[in-house]
Structures are given as C-alpha cells and as structure tokens.
C-alpha cells in the first residue's frame, strides 16, 4: 500500500515538473519557431506556436547571412561580442584570482580593510555610478571603444570574493613547500595554486562570460557607432527605429542564444556553480 502511494506521489511530482519544464522552455521554442517563419506571419497572427510546415523557411537566416533588413553589421556585432567577452573574461579572471588569492593567503596591513571594501562594492549596484562612469569614460577617451566596455568592470568584487573563499580552503603548507624548493611567489601562484583553483576558474569564467555576453546597460551607454555594437545592443537597434526588422531580429536572437546553450550542455556543473556563486556566503 505504502509503495503504491509512493509511486503515485512520484508520478504526480514528475508530472508537475514536466509541466514546469515545458513552461520554462516554451518561450524559447516559440522564438525558434517564429524565427523560421516569414515575418508577415508574425504580423498577422502575433507570436504563436502553430506548426505550419508550409510557411517554414530559412529565409530569415539567409537574410542575416546576406546582411539584409538592417543586419549588415550583424556579424560585426557577433565578432565584437566575442572579442569583448573573451578579453573581459580572461582579464577579469587573471586579476581577480590574484587579488582573491592574495587576500586569502597573505597577511598584510590593511587586508581586512581591503576585504571590507570588496564587500562594500559588492553591495552597490553599478546602475548608480552610470553617469559618473560615463563622464570618466569620455575623459579617458575610451568611450565608444571595446576598452570602454571592458575596463570599468574588469575588476569585479564577486569573483574576488569567490576566489578568496576558495583559496581559504587550500593548504598553506604547499606554499612553504614551494618556497623551500626555491619557487618564487609568482611561481607558487601559477604552478601550485592555479591548478588547485581550477574549479573556481571554471565557475567564474562562465559567470563572467555570460555576464559580458548578455550585458546591456553599460554597453548601450558606452557604445555609439553601429559597427561597434555588441549583440544585445544590435538586437535592440533592430527593434526600435521603424520596427519592421522582425525577420532578422528573431533569427538573430536565436543565433545569440546558440553558443550559450551549447556551452551549457557541455559544462552544466560549472554553469550552475558560477551562477549561484553569490550564495556561498549564506
């Protein structure tokens, strides 16, 4: 009796979650479907989920490839986004891993103050400093450049915090062993500690890369010229002016999502660790 009850509960739970999973994936399915239909369908019926094989076409993707319908810069945006994401992630991990490691492993004057500052910065939303940052970027002449997008956020408090927590769990004996063997402090970090920190690198790489790839608020302010846009900004540019670029907009959105989805399937664990990194302190 109890066993049958268990089975029923289990079945109901699976049913519930299957429904939720469908609800979660449904909007993406709708997007995908709309992207392979002509935009006239979209205008006539709105975003719908009717499977109509007669009207399905790759025309929207071909239009992007050919640079039609306002998408002449699409692949430039793609390149810019890739370039910014990779540069940003590499620089950010390099700097914040060192800072986090330094905070965890060395005792020096002002260490606690420094750490308190990291925490304080973590609590201040970037939205507040938008305007001063904008003025600063103009003064530094990095406005409307790739560096203007990258530099302001390249030292990020959350990765520093995460690397510090992670490094605290590493044995300090390794450092002494390295010193005895004549390894420099830099050598200890790169040869001994970095390999030990690899899981943290994975999680943070994904967090920062996703942030950079999807970031909108600051790039939309920092970038002015169409051929320098990143993907999210390019997509919104397709949306606003006269509003009839839906063909390339939807297909372009799908192409934007694609690399992330593929990476997610490959590195699910790091994704989950990275995106819930903020919870480690709780």
């Amino acid at each position: 009796m109890a066993k049958r009850k268990h089975k029923l509960v289990s079945f109901l739970l699976v049913l519930l979650f299957a429904g939720l999973a469908i609800a979660a994936l449904f909007p993406l399915y709708a997007l995908l479907l709309a992207s392979i239909k002509p935009a006239s369908e979209l205008f006539r019926y709105g975003l719908n989920v009717r499977l109509d094989f007669d009207v399905m076409t790759w025309a929207n993707y071909k239009a992007i490839w050919a640079g039609e319908g306002g998408s002449e810069h699409y692949f430039l945006w793609y390149r810019n986004s890739l370039l910014i994401t990779v540069t940003f992630t590499v620089l950010c991990l390099f700097l914040s891993s060192m800072v986090g490691y330094g905070l965890a492993m060395y005792r020096f004057k002002g260490r606690n103050l420094l750490f308190a500052l990291v925490l304080a910065v973590m609590m201040i939303p970037v939205e507040i400093i938008l305007l001063p940052l904008y003025r600063l970027s103009i003064d530094l002449m990095i406005i409307d450049t790739i560096w203007g997008v990258i530099l302001p956020f390249v030292v990020a408090p959350l990765p520093i915090f995460f690397f510090r927590q992670f490094a605290l769990g590493l044995p300090k004996d390794f450092m002494d062993a390295g010193r005895i063997d004549g390894c420099s402090e830099m050598g200890i970090f790169f040869r001994i500690m970095v390999p030990l920190l690899l899981p943290a690198f994975g999680a943070m790489a994904i967090l920062q890369a996703l942030f950079s790839w999807n970031n909108f608020l600051w790039p939309v302010i920092a970038l002015r010229t169409s051929d320098r846009f990143t993907l999210p900004i390019g997509l919104t540019a397709l949306l606003s002016p006269v509003g009839n670029n839906y063909e390339v907009l939807l297909a372009g959105s799908v192409l934007t999502l694609l690399p992330i989805l593929i990476l997610f399937l490959l590195f699910q664990r790091s994704f989950i660790q990275g995106l819930t990194a903020g919870g480690v302190k709780a």
């Binding site: 268990h6 939720l20 975003l47 002002g110 608020l217």
Partner: protein
Amino acid sequence: MPFIVSFAFFFSYPLAHAVVMSFQQVLPDDVSFIGLDNYRKLWNEDFYKALYNNTRYAFWTIVVLIPVPLCLAVLLNSAVMKARHLFRAALFVPALTSVVVAGIIFRLVFGELDGSIMNSLMGWFGLPSRRWLADSSTGMLALVVLASWRWIGVNLLYFLSALQTIPRELYEAAEIDGAGAWGRFAKITVPMLKPITAYVLTITVYGGYAMFTESYMLWGSRGSPQNIGLTMVGYIYQQGFQYFDLGFGATIGLVLLVITLAVSLIQLRLTGMFGKED
C-alpha cells in the same frame, strides 16, 4: 610578498575611481554648483512613478520568486523524485537567456494581436483579447512573468543546495517524535533555510530596484504609455542620456544608493541575528 602590492594596485585603482565618482555624484554638475536644486527636483510625479513602479515590481517578484522556488526545491529534493538533474537543468535554461532576448520574446508573447500567446490563452478561457502592455497592471504582470521565468531556476538552485546541507538526523528525529510532513517542512526546513532565504530576498530586492533593461525591452527607448514601465534606473537613463541632465540623473542614483544601502543594512542585521542564534 612583493607582488601583493600589485594586487592592491589593480584593485584599489578602480576602487579609487569609484570613490572619486561617488564624489562627482554629489556635485550636481561640474560646470556650476547649484546646491540642493537637484534634490528639490526630485519632488515630481515621474520620480514617484518610478519609485512606485520599482517598489511594486520588487514586491511582486518577492511574492513569486521566494515561496515558489522554495517549495519546488523541497519537492525536487524529495526521495521519490525522479530525473532530478534533467528538470533542474530545464528550469535553469531561461537564466541563460539575456534580458534582451527574453524581452524580445515576452514583448511578442504579450503582444496585442489576437494570435499572440497570451491572447490565445485568453481565448481558450473565452476571454477577450487585451492590449497587455498598454495598461499599468497587465504591464506589471508582463514584467513579473518575465522576471519569474528567468529567475525561478536560479533561486531553485540556491534553495536546493541549502537543502542538501540540512542534516538528515533532524528529520529522522522529528519523524520519531511523530511530526508529519507539513510539520517537518514548517519546523525544520523553513527555519533551516533562513540564511539562504535572506540572501535570495536581498538579491531580489536589489534586482527589483535596479531593474531597467526589462522595461526598456518591453516598451522601447522612448518610454511607456503614462510611464507605466518607468523605473529608477530608466529615469536616470532618461534624464542623463536623453535630456543630458547628468547632475539630476546622478541625484536619482544617490536615492537609489540610499535604498540599496538600507536593504544591505537590514540584511546584515538579519544575518547577524542568525549568527547569535547559532
């Protein structure tokens, strides 16, 4: 430790900038000092509208994004559940979508045409089509649905990982003492999840007050009808980059800062209290 100096440099350099900027914010404009005029300007309808919208949005996202993922996490964690990882992954996928792409989708989902997804749904229930994004409460609904879609999976993970740290003995002991499933949930699970709940609450409130892109995507750069989607950050953006009133924009930013600092302090108080309980 010679290279620690360089770490400090790499870190303190941007930080110093942040400090400098925070002082720049205090100055209304570096062309002329106009005292408190910017603050007086805050007493206007648009600002209240933005503050109200953010508060309403934060409230509803809290209502949805804490109890729902919490309960789902408990269910997903139960022993009889199957294919846990699959469902976890499926619910997590929306979090990978950028707000921009999600905004494009939901703008169409809540489209005005009869065939759009929301209006089809209404049709099934025999209700008339609506212009979802033209009305204040349905517009808010669209924002909250968008946020819920993107965040439930993430919050679920927070709760799930916290659930796994609760010692099993507690439940066994409670079972021996005759506590039912509901009793165990209310007396063990919920209290044990308090720290993570405080954290999720904080990021939700933050997200609520810092929301901008969602509204920008649903209504476009020119703003929403009667400002039904205007947010604090949207107001900063509008004043700063459309009317070029950088000083006033910065003033709005400071108000936002005060709000988030208040939230942080409350969070610190809460987590501090938990420390005492332990």
